[in-house]
Symmetry: C2
């Protein structure tokens, strides 16, 4: 079984043979922004999981399948299965993965007992030949792999494998890993190229098994799993499922020029491609990933890092099609984006991937969970209009306790529980700090402690705690893409943007370090107004307020006396910062000047002649209070806007 | 059986008791724009209907149901039903309605034979108790009215009734009317308020039966049908189907403040409410219609008259949510809008309803059918982006020969075949000409002939052909809402916008007319640039090109050497008109000045600081050729834009 150096217990545990520029470092978060959010995750969200999975029927389904296996009968009547989708098992698996990463953080006997109980249930539901899917076992007995386009059997297998890998890494226990291996072996006996002796040449409509199989290879050393992952990745795009972009089947990744189709499916597949490039050195897959990431960020990414423009088919949409109120930005897509970008960051060593991770974590991802950890957003729009009629359901712009398709909540839990594994890396040259938290960053030779109140304040103090003696190494600090000015003090030396040794986003400090050496980084957090590429039609003539890594928004609750859709921001008056410990758990607001326009009544037709619109009457001045986007929808229902007209 | 005065044979045949301001007049179109389109409808689209209904399985289903009835067995195996939806019968009924209106235009033995054959098939498929729905008869035997939310049984009944009314009005034949009455009587025996003795208090998720029942009342004089229509209209909005806006069940029409939910469902229901207000004098329903129409036009109507902002649930969306590339604007919604607006026009006598009809007919509606009458659009977006990836399917931005959900094509056919019935009206004062065509306009006392090359030219000549002697009456000509200047000559008198007797959109010419008297109207057709209410975020900073009633667009085919998404229109240089008999069957184009912007490469992140965007480098000048929106997508696939940035 291969072992990485002092590889941390978390996702993407590269093998020693991996051809990446960087390898993950170990991070412990001790206090501050993400510590608070992770504490809520550990104390509220995760412990509530089993009850929610019980009341939604997911655990019930596993018990039914286990009972059916016990009775040696595959078929139970349809009415007894609970849940609206064939992939409801994955809610359980994602929760198990999240709980496993949480267990790696420290003892939690209650959580451990829940995990043990549910792992036993999963194991009991598995068919003797390794197959496991309660929908197909209970409702579609005997119809395995007949509906690869929509059946989600391999998708479910993928999340089971991910959970098993996490469970094994975190606890050393084999119960779930054995289940996963048995299922993976079964899949490996069924799927393969024509002539391989396997009966089915096919792929799953929803990628996930691919990246899971690479992780299973990493955990077990079984090369077969890596090969199987490679087979699945490369069979996408050849029309095996009819050629739809929705199923990632229109064009092979190696030839694709932009991301397309169902956003989460695309991103999970791309994560797998990056995994394969890492473990096999496949230069073409690596190039495809870099190319598609660039195409995605330049043409299909919302300001929040959110991804997906269409509610319909949860699709990426066309280049520069980035609507505000109908931004889909599924919470799962933000998570998948972080997973993919982190793999590219490790593969290439480039800082820009962690720039996007930071933006996504603080905005498009974090908005997905309420401050109290109990309510969720599946979609994350950039605007809710005055007079919005909410249709309810999973795609509601109002937070929901749980979803019919409950993919997002346990996905949020697993990213928060495993968050420390996306923050720092090491290489032969030293330590790279990708994200700033209060805590310790550690490779096998080096430990650095950081203290910060980021993202509310821009000061980050680093102290070298452990260092090889008399051997120079490089402390690399990511200077965020949004950062317009910064200062750094390292011993007696100081730099700013004009003279700091910054190389493609990395501030490189190479020294022979002593324990106790300190570095002081000050990132300028002046609030700023942000525009968009002129091809982003949806926000023409608008700006957004940002500060540091945070995207801001207006919420109706802070603007009594009217809606938000007639508000105009005055860009000539610089916005100011106001710390508000009383508000929304303590946030830094940005206060800007604006007015509420007086729009003339034009009768029944709202499209006047362009030369007849004339100057508008003066509007009523309004002080605009912007809050971080990630805390929106934590008060009463109302309208919300990220992008604000300027005239 | 009630009879209107000299009521024309067409939709909305008011009873003599109807409380409307106007009643429909008889119009014959002899040549010109709509004549050409109707000729294509009669010679190409309609005759192809039976073959298309055959190959899609609709007629097959009727034959199966007829055979099952013959065999006195309700149940045929599921696999034998063809079609993806429970409402496929309506494609047949809408085609029958269209063909019936066409038969009213003049003899067509081939069409009459097709109609007779299909009417016989429908009659043969009907159950002995009057029920008729091939999906429920063949696939769901015995489950009638168990799924009112999605089953579409009453929706199908509604289209059957509409077809039967048309068939009877046009041919005087009773075969289909008998089927419809029998079904309506069956429905009347099943549905009613608690305590009414009817077993089910319910509504259909898709309105249509309501307006059909009013028409059946008009055709038969049976008050029960009118009452049943009133029952169904008023039971919407009370949560009988769970309270969804999608099913028009969130709020009663009488209390609603804006249109909402599925656009076609909302509009069919509103048409029925207007019908009821007309036939019963219900002032509250009339007020609701006027209120909701105003709310719709001011906040939820696209420039083309298209309706519906969401692909998801085919929903209206929120106020001012009017996207371009994702405008849904279902062709059926445009048709339903014309139907509703015409009922309000008759009810109130107000010209604005016919303003919207004109805009919708020439733009959002007509784009739904290709120039050759053989290919269709289900959705009618206002933009197709450069680099668009088409997902195919019914919602494709590329024309399709037929749809899985083939609601739109036969709906287009029935509106074109019955178009003459939406163009003019009469009242005690005289004749009102709502839409301008070459042909005759006639009430029982008056006949006026018109000649025009509208909408390409703005000149319309009217000649009084028949008039009561020595009795003054008023010729009312609608001065379109878009019209900024016009001149009119009536005998020796001339007027222009400054002094013409225009009253709320109607130019009123009251005279004691003589046969041969002439009126010459000249509507100014200078091309114009149109803006939007500032709350329409999607088109901020853009203008659209219009000329007369036509909305224009750019198509990639006319702009070689690049896409359309980087094009900017120069509003300071007035656009010019260029008649192009060679292009797209002969259209008037509008030529405008613009440039292709040179957008700097900003690296991987397309959201620069607002104060960092600076002046753009000069772009490359481009002559922009705009074509009428209604002829877009008749050449090779490519991008398209209605709204054009101006800076």
């Amino acid at each position: 079984m291969p072992r990485t150096r002092s590889a941390p217990i978390g996702p993407v545990r590269l093998t020693p043979d991996a051809r990446t520029a960087l390898h993950p470092a170990t991070v412990a978060i001790e206090s501050g922004f993400w510590h608070d959010r992770r504490t809520t995750n550990a104390r509220v969200s995760l412990p509530q999981g089993p009850d929610l999975l019980e009341s939604a029927g997911n655990l019930h389904n596993l018990r039914l399948a286990a009972a059916a296996r016990e009775a040696a009968s595959d078929t139970v009547t349809e009415g007894e299965f609970q849940g609206a989708y064939p992939f409801v098992d994955t809610d359980v698996y994602k929760w198990l993965e999240a709980a496993s990463w949480q267990l790696a953080e420290g003892e939690d006997t209650s959580l451990a007992a829940d995990v043990a109980r549910i792992v036993a249930l999963v194991a009991a539901a598995q068919q003797p030949d390794g197959y496991l899917n309660t929908w197909f076992q209970l409702v579609k007995g005997g119809e395995r792999y007949q509906d690869l386009r929509w059946g989600h059997e391999l998708y479910c297998a993928g999340h089971l494998i991910q959970a098993a890998v996490a469970h094994h890494r975190a606890t050393g226990r084999l119960e779930l890993l054995d289940v996963a291996r048995k299922f993976a072996d079964h899949i490996d006996s069924v799927f393969g190229l024509p002539g391989s002796g396997r009966p089915i040449d096919g792929i799953d409509g929803h990628p996930e098994v691919e990246t899971a199989l690479v992780e299973l290879y990493r955990e077990t050393g079984e090369r077969r799993y890596l090969d199987l992952a490679g087979y699945f990745v490369d069979r996408h795009g050849h029309g095996l499922l009819g050629g739809e972009a929705y199923c990632q089947d229109r064009v092979p990744l190696r030839e694709a020029t932009n991301v397309e189709g169902h956003a989460v499916r695309q991103l999970y597949l791309l994560a797998a491609a990056a995994d394969l490039a890492a473990e096999t050195g496949d230069a073409e897959l690596r190039a495809a990933g870099e190319r598609l990431w660039h195409a995605m960020t330049t043409t299909k990414t919302h300001l929040t890092g959110g991804l997906g423009a269409h509610h319909d088919e949860e699709d990426f949409g066309d280049p520069y099609e980035l609507p505000t109120e109908r931004a889909y930005c599924e919470t799962c897509a933000a998570i998948a984006s972080v997973q993919w970008s982190w793999r590219l960051a490790l593969l290439t060593g480039e800082a820009r991937y962690s720039d996007l991770i930071e933006r996504t974590l603080f905005n498009g991802f974090l908005a997905g969970v309420s401050l109290d950890g109990e309510r969720w957003l599946y979609v994350n729009p950039l605007q809710v209009r005055d007079g919005h009629t909410d249709t309810g359901g999973d795609q509601s712009a109002r937070r929901t306790r749980w979803f019919r398709c409950a993919c997002c909540p346990p996905n949020v839990m697993r990213l928060l529980a495993g968050l420390t594994h996306y923050l720092a890396s090491g290489d032969e040259q030293g330590l790279q700090i990708h994200q700033f938290v209060t805590g310790t960053y550690e490779t096998d030779r080096i430990r650095v402690r950081a203290e910060t109140d980021y993202p509310w304040h821009g000061t980050i103090g680093f102290t070298v705690e452990q260092t090889p003696a008399d051997a120079p190494w490089t402390l690399s600090l990511r200077i965020p893409q949004w950062c317009r000015d910064f200062r750094v003090r390292c011993g007696t030396e100081t730099y700013d943007r004009s003279d700091a040794p910054v190389e493609r986003g990395w501030l490189r400090l190479t020294r022979t370090w002593e324990p106790g050496d300190r570095v002081h980084l000050e990132l300028g957090l002046e609030p700023r107004l942000t525009a968009a590429d002129p091809r982003v039609d949806a926000v023409r003539g608008c700006v957004a307020i940002e500060r540091g890594p945070l995207v801001y928004c207006l919420e109706q609750a802070d603007h009594p006396g009217g809606g938000l859709d007639d508000i105009v921001l005055d860009p000539s008056r610089p916005p100011a910062v106001k710390h508000r410990p009383d508000l929304l758990g303590g946030v830094t607001t940005v206060v800007a000047a604006g007015h509420r326009r007086r729009i003339p009544d034009r009768g029944w037709w709202p499209y006047p002649a362009a030369d007849d619109t004339g100057p508008e009457p003066d509007g009523e001045p309004v002080e605009l209070t912007a809050i971080p986007y990630h805390v929106w929808a934590n008060r009463e229902d109302g309208s919300m806007r990220v992008w604000l007209p300027t005239s």
